[in-house]
Subunit: 419 residues, 2 copies
DNA sequence: CCACTTCGTTGAGGAGCCGATCAAAAGTCG
DNA sequence: CGACTTTTGATCGGCTCCTCAACGAAGTGG
């Protein structure tokens, strides 16, 4: 019953209005104060004051004037690129990576460090993560920006507040104190760091500027050896009681199905995981099944065969697509999403997977027209989790611009009024 | 991307604080202004002003003084019973009903009108609903209260804004303009009326004062001929894009399972619906399967047999419980709820159903300890949907007490200060 | 009876928004 | 070309609503 836990913050309206302008600027690009006033419903006086505030914090800058039209031209304002940035840290089986996004939503840079993560053990991997982070911190500073936080995308269960990795079978991690480890290695504050499930962060990325942009209700599916889901409801992630929501890989869809590594039978990921795909479309000695190969190259190989019309590959994809659709239908019945975004390896083969999924869903969902759900492929592919991590880290600023200290940004704020 | 669609409401802090006090009063019962100030984090001055405001609207009243303790005794304040009320309207196969709840969460009265709903057709049923509503409106007025809204619990798909019943197979309804029909019959405003899926409203009821009280993340399961779910995430219902979320009854859990009335095989409700239970525990000529019998009596019969140790009944319940657990495990993996509340007929037989569900879930959920999910029976049983409808209608006041006009409530407001 | 404590009200002050007003910087038109 | 119109953005007074500090009120304990 604690919907409103704290006292209603008295400076809350100021913050909410700063957020409102920031969001408008991110959507519209360059806007004059007068346009901001109309779009936001605030008075011109208030908008002037708010824009001055944002300028003092270095978050916006002048951007010329409006052309044409009668009357005095407006002074355009835009988000300052390469100012406040968020970092998404990647934790994969064969590499770690860092992705930087700025306020405008632009991805500024990506770094990767190859590493056999399961073999190296958590301590060594945290060293590498800290190294990747330090690298991009330097790059961002060189561009005149600063980093407000970093979020790690973990292929496994992470506790609610993002401090500890509970269980990540693919990495062979269990109870790893991620946040403490990174804070100790970098000397940065604890609350600089967060962590979340890779499917959740990928969903954030698609929501931010991908296949689910602007959708309040959708489901993202990540496809790798395992299968995970990130679900948005009302524009927010469904996280669950302890943050473990979206564990779709081990739904039992067929009581008589194949055995799963988790010890049970008929788990969805035995039917649609990368293992199932490779098993269906390649013989054991096929180069596609070489474990040393990275996902992108594998998918390129499978793709090439599908394009060339290889019967075995096409049959395999159709079979996987149908099994995928059976599970997606469950998700659609449960969440009634506006879209289901197929990510991970699924996104590399949309021409052969999307259609079978679509028809299976149409046949299995109770609500007419699949309840309005469209099936689409991710636009961000394997980069979605890290991108989402960066977007998530940026939320600190986007949700409360007042956390950015007021400092000197004179070279960018000429002619902008202090409140 | 429209998280903040409107301008930040400038009077928002006032409203938020009124809501804060109202919620505190609902939880704590009788509280002094000083205690309210401490609990809410607001200043004593503000609390005095807000309480005066609520008193003028007739929502709170004096309730004596604090006993014992040093210093000046506090003047207790409490929510005024039988003041603002919400109505939940029930739409079942064999009756329609009305339930009234007041601000304190107390159910003031219930009315039922027997009626063969599928046979009567929507027009006749809307007449009866309007009649039931008119009856309780009178009763409430006689107690010095007033009704702020009514929400209809529909066993089927309702559109997002609660105006139209899209599809309710059990009622044989399709595209029924519920809101318009009720507004026309009663002369009340359109926005007086709402409608929602019965599982959603039952979940609201359990969240409000039932088995899921205070839980932000839980799933409610309704059990009747069909099976439906209402899921809470972050303290809010998961409704989905068009409001059709929670349609769990037709999840395909066994590709080779029995045929369902929807034309497919292996739907969950063929395994755990009331039909499956009766089929498993009674021969065709068993009186329990008499369609004229109401759900309560049926369950009483089955219950009596289970208590007496009837082997066939016990076997049937164990089989149903296991099948129920298989589906609940899917929900737990997806939503990671703090609790799964078994409602409808399941709630009438908890001694035999809860344990099989619990063990099945423990075996099938990936996260340790079922991700913290407990399995509990509903406390409200078949009354949950109507109760939730009333609670939902009350949200209008609880979310914005300022919608209640300031009128004369002098007999109750002596000594209470105007702002 | 008098300190002491706690409660609720009052008044001054500040944060923040809005409407009105005004100067500035264009186009438009006679 | 100069006056008029239009639009922008800053400024000012006023309003709402919160907080802090001070104060009288109403009890208890010595």
């Amino acid at each position: 019953m604690l919907r409103y836990p704290g006292p209603a913050d008295r400076t809350g309206s100021r913050r909410a209005n700063l957020v409102l302008l920031l969001r408008t600027l991110r959507e519209q690009g360059q806007v004059s104060r007068a346009q901001l006033a109309v779009h936001s419903g605030l008075s011109k006086a208030t908008v002037s004051s708010l824009v001055g505030d944002l300028a003092q914090r270095g978050l916006v800058r002048p951007a010329g004037t409006t052309a044409g039209g009668q009357g005095r031209p407006g002074e355009l304002v835009e988000l300052r690129p390469s100012s406040a940035c968020g970092v998404g840290l990647d934790l994969n089986v064969e590499h770690v990576g860092a992705t930087v996004m700025d306020l405008t939503g632009e991805v500024l840079l990506r770094r990767q460090i190859a590493c056999d993560v399961p073999a190296s053990g958590p301590e060594r991997v945290l060293d590498l993560l800290a190294e990747a982070l330090a690298g991009v911190l330097g790059d961002v500073q060189a561009r005149g920006g600063w980093v407000v936080g970093a979020t790690v995308a973990v292929p496994g269960l992470v506790d609610t507040d993002g401090a500890v990795v509970r269980f990540a079978p693919r990495l062979r991690w269990r109870e790893v104190a991620l946040r403490n480890g990174l804070a100790a290695r970098t000397g940065l504050a604890l609350d600089f760091f967060g962590a979340d499930n890779d499917a959740n962060l990928a969903a954030i990325a698609e929501h931010h500027a991908g296949a689910a942009a602007g959708l309040d209700d959708f489901v993202y599916l990540t496809g790798d050896h395992g299968v995970g889901a990130g679900a948005f409801s009302r524009g927010e992630l469904v996280r669950g009681h302890l943050g473990y929501a979206g564990e779709v890989g081990h739904m039992t869809l067929d009581p008589l199905g194949p055995w799963c590594s988790c010890g049970r039978r008929g788990c969805w990921e035995t039917q649609v995981g990368l293992g199932a795909l490779l098993h269906a479309c390649a013989t054991p000695d096929d180069p596609v099944r070489d474990p040393a190969l990275d996902p992108d190259s594998r998918m390129a190989l499978v793709r090439a065969r599908a394009v060339s019309g290889d019967r075995r590959t096409l049959d395999a994809l159709h079979q996987i697509g149908a099994a995928l659709g059976a599970g997606v239908a469950v998700l659609v019945n449960l969440f009634n999403p506006a879209a289901v975004v197929l990510g991970g390896y699924f996104a590399a083969l949309p021409e052969w997977l999307v259609e079978p999924v679509r028809s299976e869903v149409a046949a299995r969902v109770l609500a007419e027209g699949a309840g309005g759900a469209t099936i689409v492929a991710s636009r961000l592919g394997f980069q979605a989790p890290a991108t989402g991590g960066a977007a998530h880290a940026l939320r600190r600023v986007l949700d409360d611009p007042a956390t950015v200290p007021i400092e000197e940004h004179t070279e960018h704020t000429e002619g902008m009024v202090a409140p």
